[in-house]
Symmetry: D2
Subunit: 330 residues, 4 copies
Amino acid sequence: MDNLEIASMKASDINHVLRHIYETLIENQDGALADYIPELAKVDPDSFGISIATNNGKLFSIGDVETTFTIQSISKAINYCIALELLGKKAVLERVGVEPSGDRFNAIEFDPRTLRPYNPMVNAGAITIAALLYDHLGSEAYEYILDRFSLAAGRQLKLDEGVYRSELSTGHRNRAIGHLLLSTQAIEEPVDAALDLYFRQCSISVSATDLAVIGATLANLGQNPVTGKQVFDMTAVRNTLSVMFTCGMYDYSGNWAHDVGLPAKSGVGGGILGIVNRQLGIGTFSPRLDFNGNSVRGIASFKILSDEFGLHTFDPTNRGSGLVAHFFDH
Amino acid sequence: MDNLEIASMKASDINHVLRHIYETLIENQDGALADYIPELAKVDPDSFGISIATNNGKLFSIGDVETTFTIQSISKAINYCIALELLGKKAVLERVGVEPSGDRFNAIEFDPRTLRPYNPMVNAGAITIAALLYDHLGSEAYEYILDRFSLAAGRQLKLDEGVYRSELSTGHRNRAIGHLLLSTQAIEEPVDAALDLYFRQCSISVSATDLAVIGATLANLGQNPVTGKQVFDMTAVRNTLSVMFTCGMYDYSGNWAHDVGLPAKSGVGGGILGIVNRQLGIGTFSPRLDFNGNSVRGIASFKILSDEFGLHTFDPTNRGSGLVAHFFDH
Amino acid sequence: MDNLEIASMKASDINHVLRHIYETLIENQDGALADYIPELAKVDPDSFGISIATNNGKLFSIGDVETTFTIQSISKAINYCIALELLGKKAVLERVGVEPSGDRFNAIEFDPRTLRPYNPMVNAGAITIAALLYDHLGSEAYEYILDRFSLAAGRQLKLDEGVYRSELSTGHRNRAIGHLLLSTQAIEEPVDAALDLYFRQCSISVSATDLAVIGATLANLGQNPVTGKQVFDMTAVRNTLSVMFTCGMYDYSGNWAHDVGLPAKSGVGGGILGIVNRQLGIGTFSPRLDFNGNSVRGIASFKILSDEFGLHTFDPTNRGSGLVAHFFDH
Amino acid sequence: MDNLEIASMKASDINHVLRHIYETLIENQDGALADYIPELAKVDPDSFGISIATNNGKLFSIGDVETTFTIQSISKAINYCIALELLGKKAVLERVGVEPSGDRFNAIEFDPRTLRPYNPMVNAGAITIAALLYDHLGSEAYEYILDRFSLAAGRQLKLDEGVYRSELSTGHRNRAIGHLLLSTQAIEEPVDAALDLYFRQCSISVSATDLAVIGATLANLGQNPVTGKQVFDMTAVRNTLSVMFTCGMYDYSGNWAHDVGLPAKSGVGGGILGIVNRQLGIGTFSPRLDFNGNSVRGIASFKILSDEFGLHTFDPTNRGSGLVAHFFDH
């Protein structure tokens, strides 16, 4: 498909592009389900949905966009945003860096210069954020963050109990990271409570449409464009999008920044959340993962969307910066 | 100083901001000159200049903006852009990755998954790019890239012979990297010619104003806004800016993306080149470096500029996206 | 002092050498007490004792040889020996390697080829051994190993409750290692019981003389030369001495093998246990540690003893192999 | 086969054991030829020979013990011994450590505490030794070390020109290591001369019997027991055997120390040199290598020999210490 002439497009054209992507990629069965816990392998591997929410509250979607799955690592980005707001950037950055690491997401390595986790998108950093939130919010921490996630999605989200129980009983590596964080004083006791919060945040059930609306909320100065409610602090959003851009897609983050060029975060549940600043939130769901732990069809969907609509942050024509919103909004 | 009310600003205000930055930072003598080769330690440590070029060719500057220094690692970004254009993205990415590494710029580590250098901003990646350019251009390679650098700067640049000779005779670590790249077949013989090109590209003399104009050329669809000449391929620019954003500031890249939020590249000669896409090129020069090898005053200058004018790529209000150019242009 | 003419020496000469070592080194106040737990910093930093036990049960000693301190990592060697005996070499080596690692003793790295701890002398390997022993012996495990340690020392040893409680409450890094071992299935639950055994084994109180007698037991085919009781399996002793030789002195192991040339194990409590196969056990105690965690005066004492009596395993004249025992025995 | 009753054995029994080993292992075709240079893959993969030289000059052997092959890394041990003698331990240890590394033999990592190569058995350390020897001996260096190797073998050895040329033209990784050593000032120019010496020393042709006699020379206070000539300095031998014990068998060194328990060095040409201090030199040749780069049949041969004759350095009964020599000598 040639690049679209965007200026003359209509909403019907958007749906046409989404259909094209869906039909092209539904055949692609590459990748495998995450199976480190049995619960994750229970999803329908063929599920596939793409949802787009504009910053004036319109939705475009195709496929299994209401099917729920666990949010997993996508929660790391949202919690980082909440932590910046509640604790301030200075307090957060004393405990977690913002440098890409070059290591696997579950690496048990800290930045040797600071003994802090490299960034809040690797497990060590996300567990540190969970510990900071627990320290600040106490035993209400999980309810609090679930409320914020729900506000961003525009509907009441809930825990996938099966996945949560499974993570709780098998998350030995994350427990190891928690105790290591204690040993370097990056976090404080009670480590079990911090880990419980982390396991819970990862086990929240969402749909592709939820991700799209959460993304649109981040794209829209932190205000949910569907409900009109203010959810996130604007300054915290800026820093969150930066970290998503540099570190959001595991060991593929640099390639993603290079080729897709959008702040995004993936989870091993099969979801990807992407943001076109001030314009769109995009959510995809397809549970087969590549070697890096990213959804195969999700990445392919974003690549086409970015190319078709000029969404790349450093697109030289900046096609996406004004035209897209205009286009999606009519 | 409070954030400026941009809509009502005039060019005189820009000069006011530049003066404010200059006067604030001229007192800062933190950091130390690069001294791994004696030639680099010969510069005046107190030099300090900031230059801004708009994408319609206007210049704003303060301080030592005509003082020349060696471009050093900033050349890596420009050569990556040229290589993408000449050889195509596919051929380049077969030899060099685009992932941040978490390692020092002169690390002798390759991505264990691919045995390729992590990205073109670390020495191993830049030497690979030099080898690809030499392989493509032959013995004219240096003249060719010097011409392209000169076109981007809008004036004829030249080699700092003293620094070049010094690099040539002492660059043992880079020679080691070159031979290691041969051993993994990331590059091919003649390795000495590739290294010579690399040492030359790093020894090109530029001023802060040259960097600003080169930046404006990258910001302006690859066309030099002062001379009107087309210098870089648009698509190559997009990918170059992405890599600068994620990997351009050595081990500080993530922090830079987080706090300044602009594609940029620093060099141990004391320069920093930053880009506000479609709007501005910014060049700073101050030779005292921090632990990461970045200019101390350069980083501080960019932080203030980014905050004052809302230049951060993920600024939620996107203040910078339209207002700045408008403002700088009047 | 020139090398002694051993053939003509008498026991009085041994005492003369010990006195010489003691007087030379008592002035040396280099190093610092281990202080990662407050209890360890409570010892008298000036304590210094050297004890030698021959394989026919004679003792030579000087200084604070009855002062007790916690055995710490020296317990790793003894427990490895016990595990080999109880479980067999095959079962043990399936879980722990025997390769030197080049990493710090408390490194959180496993051998990348096997995902097993590098060797039983690093914490990860020792915790694995503790888990294997707990798995085999159940809740009686600690009593069992305390009995074996006591048999080797020839007197009833006991726990230093203060140090044990302190380790228990602050051993976050070791807990991290325990959970990581669970995650790679190097060990099985209950990890807390294995860690408790590990913390207890490290907190057993011993004196320099205890170490000397334990060493003589290992040197004497596993039979305590003072009590005449058989304590260790001969074949297990052989493998234990090998691992002590290659990995026993933390990151100084290679230098120790090179310069002292004896199987040995040190602990951060300030003890060093050394063995001259079939001849002697040597115990030293002095709590000031060097950067590697080894007793400063302990290392210096062993260097002089090795040089004076030709104890180096690869001494070309093999002076030590027959003469020493002869000499010490008269 | 049960362990032999050594006291009653005769030389005919030795030959019986060698025949047993040969017949058992000749069927084993596991492993693969080294093929990083084409020349190395030209040997007959089925070759197999074992040779034993006693420290009073007797030889016992079976199989292809006169077939020649390149000495490769075994030369590292001999050159370390020569360097200690010529330059003194202090000067050598300023440039090369003696710690096992846990890394591959061709790793491009230095000890982070010292920036020196970990030990003289990894390539970086061996190239440093070659540079020290070149610095000391000048352009005669190769002739000098060839003479020393020949004296130790008891016959004039010579270069395998084909292998040497092949190493010279393809040794990019070793060249990289050489330049890296320059950059850390572990060595000085001319690096090409040092590398040439290193490539030559590795390309010296030897047989299994040569290795046995070299080994017996090391075992016999540095005196060749066949020719009666003094070849190595006794003190240097002690330290060389120590490093062979801890670092001689690549990444299998710890396992070798544990199970075989002899100072040894292997080469990718298929040879293994082992030493029973003051008693025997043992040379094996079989070119199929395991994953670690060690001869498969060579390791198996040494395991049987060590078990049968109690040669393990830490054999508790010390069976090997006196009986073997006695036995082999009658």
